[in-house]
């Protein structure tokens, strides 16, 4: 037997053949171009999401929640999927941005676009601080350290006065976007969230399919080699971390405006676990996986809400099944069937 968890034959989580997307093009100057199957999948996704408000059976607030968490999962996926770092404390960025934007909108009277921007920037700043400390470590250490920092943010949110402790910041005004669109109307709010989600999604897509993204993958596969080629691995990892934190913040800030609430739920470690599960279920390192994972999990949560603690059991069981026999995730498996990395 080889060393448990060690040895030469070990396959990485992110073995590109197994999980990660193959690079979309071989020639570097074509890296930014969309392969046809990504374009098709993106088209389907946008079409479905645009159609949502016109289908009466679907509750738009549910889809808005799923969209916010899908963006959160996509941002998380930047780290685990392309840098190979598992953060177990991403709730800190989601929650902190939520508090920041809720506070800005409610107490300072910021318009929604400024409140969301403020929350996003706050999460990015927090990401820079935590990232600087955490990025020096790898693997399990990294997971533990991010978890501990997130717990620090949790206790801060519990004790600070402006966060409202157990009550959170309630009845945050949605306001008027750019002074034109009244966000109190559900449909207007929905399309605003959709635009924010697509914007975030495209930023991530562009980032990971750029030369920058290629360097991240190189660091993931073989860091010493990337360093020997002259890339400053630490800086690349930090930039990826801050990008991930910022977009998680965008998701959290938007969520606070949609639900008019910033609460401890979003900073709690269970949320950090949930985003890991969404991404794992959808497919680590896939482009569309986190979105699918978020929608499946939020759908399940909605459906099982009346069962109370059963949802936790189901979540745990999904984790176990995914890790043991379904490591590619839904989209990863689909991509394998179609022989196209999605």
């Amino acid at each position: 037997m080889t060393k448990p968890g060690g040895g030469e034959a070990r396959t990485s989580v992110l073995d590109p053949g197994a999980l990660g997307p193959a690079s979309p093009a071989t020639a570097p100057e074509r890296v930014a171009e969309w392969p046809a199957h990504h374009l098709a999948a993106f088209g389907v996704m946008v079409a479905v999401l645009v159609a949502v408000p016109f289908v009466r059976q679907i509750y738009p607030v549910f889809v808005m929640k799923a969209l916010c968490l899908a963006l959160f999962a996509c941002a998380f996926n930047v780290l685990i999927g392309y840098v190979g770092l598992l953060s177990f404390g991403h709730a800190a960025f989601l929650g902190a941005a939520g508090y920041a934007s809720a506070h800005a909108a409610k107490v300072w009277g910021f318009p929604p676009e400024a409140a969301i921007l403020f929350g996003t920037v706050a999460a990015g700043g927090l990401g820079a601080v935590i990232g600087t400390l955490a990025i020096r470590s790898r693997g399990i250490y990294f997971a533990n350290i991010t978890l501990a920092f997130a717990q620090m943010i949790f206790f801060f949110s519990l004790q600070a006065t402006f966060t409202g402790g157990e009550d959170g910041i309630q009845s945050v005004p949605r306001g008027t976007l750019l002074g034109v669109f009244d966000l109190r109307q559900t449909t207007t709010m929905y399309f605003t969230v959709l635009v924010i989600f697509l914007l975030g999604f495209l930023v991530i897509y562009r980032a990971v399919h750029s030369p920058f993204g290629q360097v991240l993958k190189a660091i993931r596969e073989n860091e010493p080699r990337a360093v020997s080629l002259g890339y400053r691995a630490e800086q690349y990892k930090l930039i990826a971390f801050v990008l991930s934190a910022t977009l998680s913040g965008l998701a959290g800030a938007t969520k606070a405006i949609v639900f008019q609430l910033a609460s401890l739920t979003d900073v709690h470690w269970t949320m950090s676990g949930e985003v890991v599960l969404m991404t794992l279920l959808g497919g680590l390192g896939t482009v569309f996986g986190p979105v699918a994972g978020a929608f499946i999990l939020i759908g399940l949560e909605n459906y099982l809400a009346q069962l109370g603690a059963w949802f936790t059991i189901v979540q745990g069981a999904i984790f176990v099944v995914c890790v043991l026999i379904f490591r590619r995730g839904v989209v990863g498996e689909l991509g394998r069937l179609l022989r196209k990395p999605l």
Partner: protein, 289 residues
């Protein structure tokens, strides 16, 4: 400064430190051989307390029996978890072990929360350990003194077995190079299984010790385990003595913080962790990765 308050916080710190030490010791032993962080540790600690509660309610078996039986039962469950699930992940990235045990923790906690809600169930102190000693400067409740002494004894015994006996030398050798140890005729897979069972049994023992102090509560593990993870990072993963010393030490530091600056008592360990990471990324007692 009220010395009475100072010493009683110091005692609470020592008690917390005892639990930190027992839990981080188990995590370290498991990490050393299996290379996984056992996220289910908190849930299994909680199960230890619940097994003690069940033994009392259903079988009429008291504290002393629970102190032996609960670690055995939970250790057995750990062996089942290792045999049926963890062993398929050794060839993969270590992070999968973390994710799997996280899922196991959610399932266990969900089951107990479903049955018992999130309020605590009382567990009385055994009659032999009721009362307190007058130490002159303060009163020491007998049970709390017992917890500190027993956990210290168990921690040191574990350290002795691993660092000073033949069995321990096999374990340390397998941590360095399992293939070679296997070639010498040691059954490494069985050792891995028993090690996981042992680490988990330590958590259950801590759970039984905790039952009379805190109540028996489905959430008692998840509240504690994240702090213990920070303790492990500070001490350095895989270091046996490191986890004992940092466990007790950080408990005491936390106790002092409660006296001098109570607002920070929840976060002081995380702040220390950040500071340690800046100076020694592998932890105080850890070797560089």
């Amino acid at each position: 400064m009220n010395t009475q308050a100072l010493f009683s916080q110091l005692l609470i710190g020592l008690i917390n430190g005892a639990f930190y030490a027992l839990l981080s010791l188990g995590l370290s032993v498991i990490f050393g051989l299996l290379n996984i962080i056992n996220f289910a540790h908190g849930a299994l600690y909680m199960m230890g307390a619940f097994v003690a509660y069940f033994l009392l309610q259903w079988a009429g078996l008291g504290y002393w029996a629970a102190l032996v039986i609960a670690p055995l039962v939970v250790g057995l469950l750990g062996i089942v978890i290792e045999r049926s699930m963890l062993r398929w992940l050794y060839q993969l990235d270590h992070l999968y072990g973390l994710l799997l045990t996280f899922g196991v923790a959610l399932v266990i906690e969900g089951v107990f929360r479903n049955e018992f809600g999130s309020s605590g169930l009382p567990y009385t102190i055994p009659s032999q350990l009721v009362g307190s000693y007058n130490l002159g400067f303060m009163f020491l409740p007998t049970y709390r003194g017992w917890v500190v002494v027993l956990s210290l004894v168990i921690c040191l015994a574990t350290w002795y077995v691993i660092e000073r006996t033949k069995l321990g030398s096999y374990l340390r050798a397998a941590t360095e190079n399992p293939t070679l140890v296997q070639a010498f005729g040691v059954n490494v897979p069985r050792m891995v299984t028993l090690t996981y069972g042992f680490g988990v049994a330590l958590a259950a023992l801590a759970g039984v010790l905790a039952a009379p102090i805190y109540q028996v509560n489905p959430l008692m593990g998840s509240n504690l385990i994240i702090v213990v993870f920070a303790v492990v990072v500070i001490g350095g993963l895989g270091s046996i003595m490191g986890s004992i010393v940092t466990g007790f030490g950080l408990g005491v530091v936390e106790g002092f913080t409660k006296v001098f600056y109570p607002e920070a008592s929840n976060t002081v360990i995380f702040v220390i962790m950040a500071a340690v990471l800046l100076v020694r990324p592998a932890g105080l007692f850890g070797r560089a990765q």
